[in-house]
Amino acid sequence: MTDAPSPNSFLKNQTPDSDWYKRRIIGLLCFVIPGFVFLLLRLFYLQIIDGENFRRLSENNCIRLQSIDPPRGLIFDRNMQLLVDNRPSYDLSIVVKDARPLETSLQNLSQYTRIPLELLWGEVEKSHNQPSFKPVLLKQDIGRDVLAALEVKRFELPGTIVDIRLRRLYVKSLSAAHILGYVGEISSDELKSVKYAGYKRGDLIGKSGVEKSFENYLRGERGGRQIEVNVAGQLVRILKTVDAVPGNNVLLSFDQNLQKKAEDLLSDVAGAVVAMDPTTGDILAMASSPSYDPNMFVDGFSRDQWETLIKNPSHPLQNKAIQAEYPPASTYKIITAMAGLEEGVIDEKTTLVCPGSYKYGDREYRCWKKGGHGSINIGRAIAESCDVFFYQVGLRLGVDRLASYANGAGLGVLTGIQLEQESGGLIPTAAWKKRRLGVAWQAGETLSLSIGQGYNLVTPLQLATMISSIANGGTRFTPLIVKKIQNASGETIKEFFPEIKGYLPVSPKHLDIIKKGLWEVVNGKSGTGRIANIAGIEVSGKTGTAQVFSRKTDSENESRRAQQLKSHAWFVAYAPSANPKIAVSVLVEHGEHGASAAAPIARELIRAYLHDSQSTERSTSE
């Protein structure tokens, strides 16, 4: 290095030589040696000084992890009335090793708990190949009374353990079951999906309703404990604890009292009721009948209970308000009227003649009123639900124009409610039929379509959003069922505000014509929905009677078949007519007539809601 010629003698002095490097390398040893001494000392401490202790800990694998399940979030109605709670469940286990002699212990246990001895033996034998210090679960949820009995006899029952776990409690049992949903053990398929990353076998997850849709908020965060156990597997001490974070609480949009009212009104029939606040899209009630008790999913079904539940022809598990699809029947005339006016094929003054039937092609299409309505305009046609009038409007429009107005009003499309498994319904177009059935559209089919029969299918929720947007002057809101998420200490962490999904494709002038017709339905001299009339409250609405075509020809008996062939009854309504505060859609399966079966339910619900809110308004203003 020294012989390297340098251009600058000043620089040359600064270029390090070999000795310079050597000195600095030796300096490094001052770090290396102490570093190793440090490691060696630690090793000495762990293995020699404290080795005995660690050897003992290792022999029984003494340090274990125990997980702590977080309490699941609660669910409340809009007035903080508790709907879904957690309750303690006492789970009985036995540690075989500590319970010797096993026969005597199990006999005693059977005597005090009244659990058959064979059952206890069965559970113990099932787990014979696991270490005897591991607890064997004998029975879940033994109940407070049995627990008390066991506490008294504690000393006669060695090795018996009672664990407290939290279980879901659906406080109102059958009420709002379809909205709330239920929880169940995670399945192997769900465990594999990305959506449930971080879950483990045996975890409870929401399986339907709000429990499912809001799983991420409700679940909370798992905690755990580092514990030291002795040779018998018994807890010696807790080394460290990470507390579980409780799940968040969910606040719903409805008032439980009105929800209960809707359910009571439906109690004798199969069907659905949806009530909405037309100014916000808040769901005020959503009932589906028959219902089921979600607590059965927690406590377990007997085989019989499960069979009756799934074999019931009225499908209690289905949320008919959002999952069942029905022909909209005459409620659809609102769409035909809207399309006719907007497209200019009729106007307010257009009169068409109804002689009681309409001949098209070689078929006779009848009006529900045998004698006919005579010369009739749009207002009366809505009020008296004249089929022949709307046949002619429909013919002038054609299937595709009708479909675009139906979609524009939210029919045949998902409403976007915060619940899973919503059905979309069906609004046919010519292209749809060609694609689906391979046959061209027949103009005759448009006739049935224009009065809401044929391929048309909608959900009660879709009709509720439609009538709600008519009521509020044309704004389509996304229905809101969950309003707020709060953490366990009551702070709001998320709030859902009214969300505009779209606008009705109708001008204010034409909407007024339709609204006038809907007022006439309930208040006019020959309106079809006069039964919904309430003294002191102006109600507007529309009836519908959906024909049912039986697919089951081999039904067990005649009366049953007759029942299945009865038409579905619809009623959609809003009130007060001038300044609507509630919009309702009611469907009664096989209720025969919209006016007689569905309208009274809507009327009573409206009455309950408006009387209640009026009385509360009065009391707050005083």
Partner: protein, 366 residues
């Protein structure tokens, strides 16, 4: 062409240390691999294969003169940067991070190679710019870039352990080459200002992760639990160990990552204080020996290269063994020669080859 003196000067001592470490690594891995699923048996066979390839690389890397590394330093560095970039684009995602490039059956971790590349490129740069007065701030701009690029790419994977390792190696070389007092003050004061500011910019969960990294006890269900199990495994080995294949903590899979980061615990449980102190001593021998090689080298590049490799081995041993004994943050740094991992074995054998290269050519430098 071939100089007879090369054979005469071959560093047999280094080869013996290397072979002894490789043997203890394979024995321990055999013990660790016995636990759990049959698939873990494959770890041992694969590791054996990696050592086979590693020996070929070692021999290849001492046949050519290490001067070639000087010449092609920037080229090798560029290749490594390219591979690191490729990992981020097409790498295999495992447990949330992209660290591997997959070629059919084989997956490689370019970050392991990057450690060696950074050593070579810094040795080249410092061998030309070193001054007895120390480096000025402006002299350090280029090294900072040379370190910063791979560091950034590895942090992005994310592989915090390897990134920190690159910083430590580079810092060791830079401090050794001497930093001017004013530059040192500037760097330290910049650090004291910047670190709290970066801390403020981090998100809650990122802070949490760093705090857990520094103090495993904050996570008693994860890292904290692993450290306890590791300490139990090591401590329960006592003076003479439970015997080969007799470790219970390992056998029942109570130890996490027992074939990679926590392999020292398996060794300490099986062989006790006697065995683990012996392995520690082997590492100390290796470090002193390679410092000796640096000391005997009359060419700055060779000396710096040997020091860089020593720093790599020294830091990895210190941090890994410190971690499993509960003295260091829990970070994914392998134990050289012992931990399972193809890329780490290959780059370690490459390093041994380079050390032998420098050692046998010390009398040939003109």
């Amino acid at each position: 062409m071939f100089d007879r003196r090369l054979v005469q000067n071959f560093d047999w001592m280094l080869l013996i240390i290397t072979l002894l470490l490789a043997a203890s690594g394979l024995i321990t891995l055999y013990s660790a691999a016995r636990a759990g699923l049959p698939i873990t048996q494959a770890f041992f066979v694969k590791q054996l294969m990696w050592y086979g390839i590693g020996f070929v690389i070692m021999i290849a890397s001492f046949l050519i003169s290490y001067k070639q590394f000087d010449q092609y330093a920037y080229f090798a560095y560029a290749v490594c940067i390219f591979l690191l970039a490729a990992v981020l684009l097409v790498g295999k995602l495992v447990a949330g991070s992209k660290r591997w490039l997959v070629f059919g059956q084989i997956s490689l971790q370019p970050s392991e190679l990057a450690k060696v590349a950074v050593i070579i490129v810094l040795a080249r740069y410092y061998s030309r710019t070193a001054s007895t007065k120390g480096m000025r701030l402006r002299d350090l701009v280029i090294p900072m870039l040379l370190i910063g690029i791979p560091f950034g790419l590895i942090v992005k994977q994310p592989d915090l352990g390897t990134a920190v390792m690159i910083l430590l190696i580079a810092a060791t070389l830079t401090v050794l080459i001497k930093i001017e007092k004013r530059a040192m003050i500037a760097i330290v004061s910049f650090g004291t200002v910047a670190i709290p500011m970066i801390w403020l910019l981090l998100k809650g969960y990122q802070k949490q992760r760093i705090l857990t990294f520094l103090e495993p006890d904050r996570d008693p269900l994860g890292a904290g639990y692993h450290i306890i199990q590791s300490k139990i495994a090591i401590g329960s080995g006592m003076l003479s160990g439970k015997g080969f294949l007799k470790g219970t903590q390992n056998a029942l899979s109570f130890l996490p990552e027992h074939h990679t980061d926590f392999i020292f615990s398996v060794l300490a449980e099986d062989w006790g204080f006697i065995g683990s102190a012996a392995v520690l001593f082997l590492f100390l021998m290796l470090i002193i020996w390679s410092l000796n090689i640096a000391h005997g080298c009359r060419d700055p590049f060779g000396a710096l290269l040997a020091i860089g490799i020593t720093a790599l081995i020294g830091w990895e041993v210190f941090i890994n063994i410190g971690m499993v004994m509960g003295l260091m943050p829990v970070v994914g740094i392998p134990l050289p020669f012992i931990s399972y991992g193809g890329s780490a074995i290959l780059s370690m054998m490459l390093c041994m080859g380079i050390l032998m290269n420098i050692s046998m050519r010390k009398y040939l430098v003109e």
